[in-house]
């Protein structure tokens, strides 16, 4: 792509992902035909990825405020108060399309992007997590993508120096041609040390910092807003290349610069690079911006204005500085060996002006570039809610023990050790609970305070009933935080869906957002940041609706935190919450009975938010009072799987002798009813505990006792926990090491 004299044809407009009516809007807005550079700028600002044009209407309905929310959605990341003048800054963002095209680099730059979002606000990253979804294990590309994505996540985070402490890994055929890489990062800052992107003051220098600009990633954001066809392999040039070393230097240089008092405003160059960052800084501050591209540090010769404005080269920042501090700022960046160049200034005319080689390459109204982006109220169809599936209509297995062993070794249930041992989960020395816990727990300073982090969603529930699925994603996230003893503070969401121009896909998006909103309101769990990824389709087939939730919780005394492993023999095992034996959309139904999610019309387990809150608040209070020895939430696979996980984590068996009452045994064992926890405690405390639960009308049933090397369960021959562990740990390494067929 070279000359600015290129004619703006309908084909060229279409290539930029702009619809004819959107192009007409541009013509109306500027009163003339745009230059090629201007067309590129519009396509970057108005694509789905940057403008949220299909989702904005519905995102506005989410609760985003609360007593602890310092900064909500709209900035680089959300900011939440964690007492003592400190805040936690966090966000989750997708890098799905690039990770499918180039798994290692796509995932690596996804991690790099989210870390940059966090430290751009003045926070030092203290935890990273990631939710990864891959195609069916037997699909020929899956192992290649798993291997590359996991390598990229680790390669970037390990080198950068942030502990990767948790996340999710799942498989489903709907991701065969469109994997999901959702990266979460959280950073710590002082409440009075937060930096925003809003520029203030006319005539101030705009400074370019970090790595040089190359031709990589041009039109990355536009790519992320289109479906894949057969030509996905040909899109490789639009994937960026990550350099975690440069990012680590950029982190240290930025934090040092911020401490010097030189920074007025800062914005990282993420999607749509220089265009998006410069426009946002100006538009938010009601200022114009003038850039002189002759000053931009370039990696390659002969780059055009068009290329520079759309490059998504990584590890770059844009700042507005106090002019009197410019020399000091430059010295800091030189010390870290990074580029530093004044490339423009703020103006008072609300124009976004781009100069290159003495020519004006773009001259556009800056507010309208952002504010006047198209916004759609896309048609959507009412989603299905699924059919009731009575438990006795689902086949029971012959031996529940054999079934349990099999379930623990399923692709979606097996240990993810193969994955998380490739991530440095211990760096910084604050990891109290790493991967494999209900939620990760990371210490903050040395006052006993800690933060809990988790990522959750059950896409098969969302597929069967988007509204209940959306509620469940929030509830499970909240429950996982609660199970460590943390108080859930706030959440970030990463909404991954198919093509919103299809009413049934739009219906999934609307349903999930409504469900998320309802749950967040009921659980006082505001959403402070997030990201939407649409067009996750290949050859017309969408992924399962996947609204991943990232939750953050706070505990004031890390010494009282709960863990999942059984602790001592002879302790009481209590099941909190009611078990109705809901098998619809369960792992048992899908993977043991064999009903594929795509064909499964059954309803997912309903989420009663009042019960969820009641049970959770009770469990948390009991943990904090030091009454419980082990706590685990119940989710995929139900009761028997949760018991097995507690036995494997503690290296201790248990005997379960509860009567399952009216509920068929297999539904009692594997049903996925919500709002449930398993807890253990010494026998001495049992009576008082049960009374406290009864006073609150909470279902708390003694179901058994810890002890021995075996798990003895109704309907099953006793199984040693070591045998379960062998099955649980075996699947992933065997899958990745198997011969290529």
């Amino acid at each position: 792509m070279s000359t600015s004299n290129l004619a703006i044809t309908p084909a060229l407009v279409a290539e930029h992902g702009l619809k004819p009516d959107e192009y007409q809007r541009i013509l109306d807005l500027i009163g003339r035909e745009p230059s090629l550079t201007e067309l590129g700028i519009f396509s970057a600002m108005w694509n789905e990825h940057c403008s949220y044009k299909s989702s904005k209407k519905w995102l506005r309905t989410l609760p985003t405020t609360g007593p602890r929310v310092v900064v909500g959605p709209g900035e680089n990341a959300g900011v939440v108060d964690i007492n003592d003048g400190q805040v936690i800054v966090f966000k989750m963002e997708s890098h799905n399309h690039p990770s499918y095209i180039s798994p290692y680099q796509g995932a690596a730059t996804g991690v790099g992007g989210i870390l940059r979002d966090v430290f751009t606000m003045g926070a030092r990253p203290v935890a990273a997590l990631n939710a990864l979804r891959f195609g069916a294990p037997d699909h020929p590309l899956t192992r290649h993508i798993v291997s590359g994505v996991v390598g990229g996540v680790g390669g970037y985070g390990n080198s950068f120096g942030v502990p990767t402490v948790g996340g999710e890994v799942n498989f489903d055929p709907s991701y065969n041609g469109n994997c999901l890489v959702n990266a979460f990062a959280a950073g710590l800052a002082d409440a009075d040390g937060i930096f925003l992107s809003e520029a203030r003051g006319v005539g101030l220098p705009i400074v370019y910092l970090g790595s040089k600009t190359g031709r990589d990633g041009i039109h990355g954001a536009t790519m992320a807003s289109a479906e894949f066809g057969e030509d996905a392999e040909e899109k490789r040039p639009t994937v960026q290349i990550g350099d975690p070393f440069a990012e680590k230097l950029l982190l240290e240089a930025c934090l040092e610069l911020m401490a010097s008092g030189a920074v007025v405003a800062i914005q990282d160059m993420g999607a749509a690079g220089l265009t998006c960052s410069a426009v946002e800084m100006g538009a938010k501050g009601d200022l114009g911006v003038e850039l002189d591209l002759d000053k931009v540090p370039c990696r390659e010769d002969g780059m055009t204005a068009y290329e520079m404005m759309l490059s998504e080269s990584q590890e770059r920042m844009l700042m507005v500085l106090h002019p009197e501090k410019e020399a000091e700022a430059e010295a800091i960046f030189r010390k870290w060996g990074l580029d530093f160049a004044v490339i423009g200034q703020t103006t008072d005319d609300l124009r976004f002006r781009v100069l290159h080689k003495g020519e004006i390459k773009a001259d556009l109204p800056i507010k309208e570039l952002g504010d006047q982006a198209p916004e759609y109220d896309r048609p959507w169809t009412q989603w299905s809610t699924g059919d009731d599936l009575p438990a006795d209509a689902v086949d029971a297995p012959n031996d529940l023990g054999e079934t349990l062993t099999k379930m623990l070794a399923l692709p979606d249930m097996a240990s993810r050790r193969w994955v998380w041992e490739q991530y440095d989960s211990l760096i910084q020395g604050n990891t109290a609970a790493g991967p494999g816990s209900d939620a990760a727990v990371v210490r903050v300073g040395h006052t006993g305070k800690a933060l809990a982090f988790t990522l959750d969603v059950s896409p098969r529930y969302c597929h069967a009933d988007p509204f209940e699925g959306g509620k469940q994603a929030v509830a499970e996230c909240w429950r996982n935080l609660t199970a460590t003893g943390a108080e859930p503070l706030a959440a970030t969401d990463n909404l991954n869906f198919g093509n919103p121009e299809k009413p049934e896909i739009m219906g999934q998006l609307v349903g999930c957002i409504k469900g998320i909103g309802e749950a967040c309101r009921a659980l006082d769990f505001p959403i402070v940041s997030g990201n939407v990824s649409l067009y996750n389709e290949t050859n017309g087939k969408g992924i399962l609706p996947t609204p991943a939730m990232g939750g953050v919780g706070l505990m004031t005394d890390i010494a009282t935190r709960a863990t999942i492993g059984f602790k001592a023999a002879g302790e009481a095992i209590i099941l909190i919450g009611e078990t109705k034996g809901h098998l619809g959309q369960s792992i048992y139904l899908r993977d043991i009975v064999g009903v594929a999610t795509a064909d499964d019309r059954s309803a997912p387990p309903p989420v009663d938010l009042a019960t969820e809150k009641l049970n959770g608040d009770f469990v948390r209070a009991e943990i904090r009072a030091g009454n419980l020895s082990a706590v685990h939430d119940l989710s995929d696979g139900g009761l028997y799987v949760a018991l097995a996980e507690m036995a494997m984590a503690g290296g201790l068996g248990a005997r379960i002798d509860a009567v399952h009452g009216e509920v068929p045994l297999h539904a009692w064992a594997f049903g996925e009813d919500q709002a449930r926890y398993l807890v253990t405690l010494p026998q001495a405390g049992l009576e008082a505990f049960v009374e406290r639960a009864a006073m609150l009308k909470i279902s708390a049933r003694l179901i058994g006792t810890t002890g021995g090397d075996e798990l003895t369960l109704p309907g099953a021959a006793p199984i040693s926990w070591t045998k379960l562990k062998t099955a649980h740990e075996g699947w992933f390494p065997a899958f990745m090491a198997a011969d290529i067929v």
Binding site: W420, Y423, D424
Partner: protein
């Protein structure tokens, strides 16, 4: 005990090391930037973990040629204790202060997990607080920790008691020859190891056995 921690571009466990040294010795260590030519008067110099220079070219290869390394070599020659952890071990090997190299892990993947370390030499300035044969848990986190040296060098290291720590109980995570996790120089005042004792110093880490290494130096210089 006074100590200094060298910081290279891309070092990322220097904060863990600074914290461990201050916690255990009671004295705040000095952080020294790689462009310096001189080191302050200290009893211990530490090269911390990380990805100096992004691990580009070869792990530790570029850092081994940084300005400060001449001063580190001088301190080592003067008998000052020098400790290299993870990337620091790689830098010590690349700079010739320790023999051998750290290759890519045998399975070619980064690995972060706890391993069992056996104290093979409990007489050194870095291990004297442990008992010979003592086994303690310690985390590793590296992609290039596969220690290798030619057969003659390995024989000499073993013969001279210069293998200070060994992976035990089948927990060798990277394919290192003779399960070597840590080695000493001929004078015994320079040690390099791949595991991270600085991340095993308080109950939160799951144990405190890593303290012994720092306490050994503390006792040695007293």
């Amino acid at each position: 005990m006074k100590s200094a921690v060298i910081v290279f571009p891309g070092s990322n466990r220097e904060r863990d090391m600074l914290y461990a040294l201050e916690t255990i010795t009671g004295v705040k260590p000095v952080a020294v930037w790689h462009t310096e030519h001189e080191l302050p008067d200290v009893d211990l110099v530490v090269l911390p973990g990380g990805f100096s220079y992004g691990d580009y070219l070869r792990t530790g290869a570029i850092a081994a040629r940084a300005n400060i390394m001449a001063a580190v070599a001088k301190k080592a020659a003067d008998g000052v204790r020098v400790l290299g952890v993870c990337n620091g071990f790689q830098i010590l090997c690349e700079s010739g202060l320790l023999p051998g190299v750290l290759m890519r892990n045998a399975h070619l993947r980064f690995v972060c997990r706890n391993v069992d370390l056996e104290v093979a030499n409990a007489d050194s300035d870095f291990t004297k607080k442990y008992a010979k044969g003592q086994i303690w848990p310690c985390p590793v986190a590296h992609g290039d920790g596969n220690y290798f040296a030619d057969a003659e060098t390995v024989k000499r290291l073993e013969g001279e008691g210069r293998v200070s720590l060994r992976y035990a109980n089948g927990t060798n995570p990277n394919g290192s020859v003779n399960d070597i996790a840590g080695i000493l120089n001929a004078k015994g005042n320079v040690m390099g190891l791949m595991p991270h004792p600085e991340n095993m110093i308080e109950p939160l880490n799951g144990g405190t056995a890593g303290r012994g290494l720092f306490e050994s130096v503390l006792e040695a210089v007293a």
